[in-house]
Amino acid sequence: MYDLMLQGAAHVFQPWTLFAIFCGVTGGLVIGSIPGLTSTMAIALMVPLTYAMEIEFAIPLLMGVYCGAISGGLVGAILLNIPGTPASAGTCLDGYPMAAKGQATRALGLAVYSSMIGGVLSGLALVLIAPTLAKVALSFGPWEYFALVVFTFTCISAMSSKGRAVKAFMAAFIGLALALVGLDEASGQTRLTFGFTAFESGFYELPALIGLYAIPQLLADTDDIGRSATMIKINYKLREFMGTFREVMSRKRDLGRSTFLGIVIGILPGVGPGLSNIVAYSQAKRASSQPEKFGTGELPESVMSPEAANNASMGGALIPMLTLGIPGDASTLMMLGAFMLHGIDPGPLLFRDHGDIVWVVFIAFFVAFAFCTLVYHFFIPLTVKAISVPRQYVIPVLLILCTVGCYALNNRMFDVYCFLGFGLLGYFLHIARVPVLPVILGLILGPMAEEQLSLALAFGQGSVLPFVTRPISGTILLISILSLVLPPILGRRRRRKAVEPA
């Protein structure tokens, strides 16, 4: 293990790799701080451009973008009351009121330091949990993997807002159906190509991912052109900013709880920083001795909790992605795409066959957070400027970069047309309020589900019983069913209790 760690460290601590992480962090911070441009978009832009790079160089760069973009959301949340990314939605609630009281530097300091601590602690969880889980996952058979895919989809629908669970399932089936398109390797027959030879190779994941995320988002972003949000002016002083570190460290219990919540939510497939920051905020309010002061921008824990949680989710989300090949959230889904682009399939075998790459991920994660902290100390004014860049300059540049990125994958225009086609599909789903993440998960996990189901049936001589009789797959399927059945039952009971007179 130490050999692999040293190999990983040797890859990361190269001057150009460190520079790449630094650039990734800075670029991620800038993109993440612009409201409407998410971390997923930042990684989506970068992944195709890493095609020509060595994986030891590309992964650290993407880790930098990932960490920077998630952290970047806090600037918009605090100074504009608009979260740069959904991961910072909870930060608006108290960060903006605190900044409005003339304490913008304090709010930013609390958010930055708690983000970094949450991120680093989740990195430690990643290093400790991932190898152990990978060892356990080595004993998984096709039944367990299929059960995990089922669990992933049930998890997404269970986490959907009220009345949207069926839509989330429909979205997953759209993704699974799209994954069927092309040549079926087992039978040698083409499926759902409708006579188009271009479809025979199926849809390449990355143009689909980028199209589904980027085009609807950029189209919706045009609504913000010409709108000027009132940004709180900040008189940035480094000493005042650094002074908040002590305040953060004096709230260890809040930090610990939010980080723990962030990691656990991050591990759950399909949900990540977007949910964890809201949950951490509500838990901090519940645990507080002054819950009435939440929303007023007086309490430091109300800013710290969502930020610690959203960054903690990053390490958590990487755990299932690296060990099982199942992404924890949309951004890790893009990271999964990056691994696949470089010919590496994440899963337990990654730890056995490419241990050095795993350590590159671990070490780059910590280095990215270190750079992120450093960049925040000295470039807060830059990120403040990034927020106010007029959207009409950003949108065409991002569309061009997406187009170039999609073309560069295979040097064929078909991928660019797929990017547009998936973008239009994403826009239709956006209008119909159907979540996009299940579509992408279906597209990526579909081939895995089909392969594992075929293997399971072949090994079980056509019997489906092992799915429930094998302890791990049976347990996973049971949890899947419970995650579907329990939330509506509990919700109904809670509503009935609320209606009953005291």
Binding site: A220, L399, L457
Partner: protein, 154 residues
């Protein structure tokens, strides 16, 4: 949202139904095999159709969630907002123009035209900025992709 939900369910069910009928034409791998070429696709499309039917019934017979009180006309107006459609149209034209015009020329024109047309008030300064952004974007792409990464441009 009710009408939009019904339109979505209708499109979804139609597409999945067409796919389901297409999958029925597949040949089996072999009679002795435990696995079937049709099993997974039919499972996916069949369950997908069931979900579509459930959602359609839910939309028809259950009240919409409170946060979805947006009317059909509002949704349509939002979908076809002029700026969104303008950007989409420009992007489609850009993709179509890449082959005849060449990537660099098409990209330069697209970038400049999009910035100029999306800017709320066109002034000489905004046009100069649009030109500068276009040139810088082209330079960045060329430098990064062609010189550094040695990738091919469309």
């Amino acid at each position: 949202m009710r009408t939009i939900d019904l339109i979505f369910s209708g499109v979804y069910l139609t597409v999945l139904l067409i796919a389901f009928t297409q999958i029925g034409d597949l040949r089996e791998i072999s009679a002795a095999s435990f696995t079937s070429a049709k099993l997974f696709p039919q499972l996916v499309l069949g369950l997908g159709l069931v979900m579509g039917v459930i959602e359609t019934l839910r939309t028809l017979f259950l009240p919409s969630p409170a946060d979805e009180g947006i009317g059909f006309r509002q949704t349509l107006a939002m979908t076809f907002r002029p700026r969104r459609m303008l950007l989409l149209a420009l992007f489609v034209i850009y993709l179509a123009a890449i082959k005849p015009l060449g990537f660099l020329i098409a990209t330069g024109i697209f970038c400049f035209a999009t910035i100029a047309l999306l800017t709320p008030r066109v002034t000489p300064v905004s046009l100069v900025i649009a030109a500068l952004v276009s040139v810088c974007t082209l330079a960045l792409i060329y430098q990064l992709l062609v010189v550094y990464l040695q990738a091919f441009l469309p």
